[in-house]
């Protein structure tokens, strides 16, 4: 079962970043309906990535952690995993913010809202890519001992 959660976490995490990129593309092309649709997919993907990643972290990572810590690359946990798991919370909050902003607030000024959404989507893309890179390092810390 462990592999299902890891693979789902990676796939949905990457899908979330790709949806953020597509959403940004439609925002820049002034297509609000498509921008909103892909922003919603981004949030859903991030939510599933959080649930599957959280499940793996709580129920399986505690068994994998000693292998990383006693292995050749303990920094994989001490730096990459620690920063990843806590920075992910910021990513999730930004994603949640965009959803609430789109659905429950005034979008009075088109230019102001577009600038803000652009900044939010850039942040989501940069953080999403950082998560992927840190995930690779964590995986490397585990695999190097196999």
């Amino acid at each position: 079962m462990k592999i299902v959660f890891i693979v789902s976490h990676v796939l949905f995490g990457v899908a979330g970043t790709i949806c953020a990129m597509i959403s940004l593309h439609h925002l820049l092309k002034s297509e609000p309906a498509k921008f909103k649709r892909y922003a919603s997919w981004e949030f859903l993907s991030t939510l599933v990535a959080a649930l599957t990643g959280g499940w793996y972290y709580v129920y399986y990572y505690q068994q994998d952690k000693p292998i990383i810590l006693n292995g050749a690359f303990p920094l994989a946990h001490h730096l990459f995993m620690e920063v990843k798991e806590h920075l992910f919370i910021a990513l999730f909050l930004i994603s949640l913010f965009l959803q609430i902003r789109i659905r429950f607030t005034t979008i009075a000024s088109d230019i102001g809202f577009q600038k803000e959404s652009k900044e939010v989507l850039y942040s989501l893309i940069v953080l999403g890519l950082s998560m992927s890179v840190m995930g690779v390092f964590v995986s490397m810390g585990f695999r190097v001992n196999q």
Partner: protein, 105 residues
Amino acid sequence: MSEEKKLPEQSLQASLIVCILLNTLVTIVKEICHPVKAFITQIFGNHWVGHMVLLVLLFLLLVILFKTIKINPSFNFNRALRFSIILSVILLVLFYCTKYSLHTD
């Protein structure tokens, strides 16, 4: 993209910035002060789950709270968001590098 007004956007923006910075602060406090980590673990079963749930609840709570507070109109959300993310990354990396180097010494 005009829509009916439901929530003030500034309270939402301010709440996000505060929560991103608080996320970093809570992370560092949790690592330094072990009783805090143990308390969160005791309530939620896992410190990361508790951290995430608390931050999301706080974010929603602050949105409501900030509705009653007048926020400075010169507040630049885009700049604040960039600043809070960069600061969080720097602080988290520095903190965990320091912790690791002290741990291995």
